[in-house]
Amino acid sequence: MSIFINKKSKVVVQGITGRDGSFHAEQMKAYGTNVVAGVTPGKAGSKVAGIPVFNSVAEAVKETKANTSVIYVPPAFAVDAIYEAVGAGIKTVVCITEGVPANDMMKVYPIVKEAGARLIGPNCPGLISVDQSKVGIMPGNIVKKGGVGVVSRSGTLTYEAIWALTCAGMGQTTCIGIGGDQVIGTNFIDCLEAFEADKATKAIVMIGEIGGSDEEDAAKFIKKNVTKPVVSFIAGQAAPPGKRMGHAGAIISGGSGTAEDKIKALKKAGVPVAGSPTELPILLNELIAKRKEADKTKKAKAGAKTKTAAKKKTASKKK
């Protein structure tokens, strides 16, 4: 089981004949993803790594019933690619492109929502549902099947965390990068909600960074709605205010969006925060063990109560 993508996802690659599109189309196919089509206007009829290319997403959907798309298209054209995918009925759109103007994203987001579709990204590595499907550029050789759901705003930092989990024997259900921009299609809460509902996901790792208030909102959501154990890492404690740290969304502005605030909010919600990404598996194991103990104590107390109640009943009966 997984979130957002699985074995049934039929993927169309927008921008398939470009350098990134062609390379990653082949990588996704090699992982076992069901890549059914590619789109590059003007290249219909050709093939990339055995994948048929069409002139438009609508044509690709008509011929192959594609339901998921991944966008490897330069920033000037990426938003148009999102509109096109959604207009053609694609329900899950993953936009890898970095450099999409934020104001374009503000305009396309309500359109995606209205169409009942899910946009992941932009400026993201995509996602992998382990042993089922990979949509994006995440390396398939670092993941391992298991019960941990991983959600992150980063790329290689996510891989670092996933690798630490894999090495510790803690496999994953789905690993998703939601992207480093200010306006993104899927936020932490969307993923937490999905992980909470996914039977195969038993625990969650959340990796955030400076900028915005997504982590703070997620902390509130976790306290109210997430029963599974969650641990976190927040990057950027050493970042200066007012400077964009690589990601368009990684900026402390007007005093808000600091790593300190996010860490505080998460701890307040009962989410342990690691001091480094490599600490995450240890922290998660500790949390799981702690919750097991707490559970045991709870059950023991409840059992004692029942016994006492039963004794009282017997005693009163005797009377």
Partner: protein, 378 residues
Amino acid sequence: MKIHEYQAKEIFADAGIPVPPGDIAMTPVEAFEIAERLNKPVMVKAQVHVGGRGKAGGVKYAESPEAAKVLATNILGMDIKGLEVKKVLVTSAEDIISESYVGIILDRATKRPVIMVSPAGGVDIEEVAAKTPEKIFKLAVDPVVGLRPYQARNLAFKLYRDITQVRTATDIIMKLYDIFWKVDSSLIEINPLITNAAAEVVAIDAKLNVDDNALFRLKNIEKMRDIDAEVPAEVEAREADLSYVKLDGYIGCMVNGAGLAMATMDLVKRYGGDPANFLDIGGSSNPQKVVTALKIITSDPNVRAILINIFGGITRCDDVANGIVEAFKEFKPDIPVVVRLTGTNAAEAAKILQSINLPSEETLDDVVKKAIELAEAE
């Protein structure tokens, strides 16, 4: 990308938003000439990309052209929060009767532009938000529908009672909203928007930030970039397509990926060191990029050791190692370098680095500790 007050005012003026007349002076004589031309008292205002110019003494009133020349002499060359003042805006002074705040900001939570107005203008809006939040009025605008005039008018009524002033303010808000989309802004502020003795509504300050991601389609705005106002190494990095931010420490960092780069900096601090920079070298193993990155990092005399941290997923570690070897042939830093390559073909990579006696570590924690150790020994 930030632009100066005078540039933002040009954009406002083009759109028909009332701003006081003025011009840029780079010498005291120029300031004199502008004041003379305007033929009334002026404000001499430092043009630098930081807030708090007034508090730092960079915004002064000049009764006469002679006074303007004297003030310009003081203000030009002044250091305000680490930036040198190279230009001043000489603009006619207004009699300020009231000060308000009008701004539009990209709100990440609602994914909408949010218009904020406050009758408490002329001070830091964050201060108002902290102390008297009831004085701030916000409207999140539906980007699909746009801003309706009645909405702008309702906001204007929060600032003024006089219907003429309300109409002017409404017009200003509508125009600001247009500008926000037209120049791909992430933040526009008029603070303060004033009423003067003639009851006119005038924007006497202007701030406008443009989305870097949109510069490719805003060539005229990109020309407004003030390279003099930026850190030279950061300019060089941008031109080489590297993401770089200069910091104050002594451990140079080169990492692939912004999140991992931030986490590496955090870890340096955690182990008692101090990062000299943030640098995201991206996913390529290209030796030229490595050379450029090394040169930029070592252009900072504070750097005593360099830490290279690469997680190779699809990027292969042995490719990166070969890239480093090639780069060292062209440019070898004379300070210690320590590398950590993890992921695809990491073992092969370690062998390649060994062949040029470049120390490498396996774990993130170890490479950070090693870098600090080597730096302290320098």
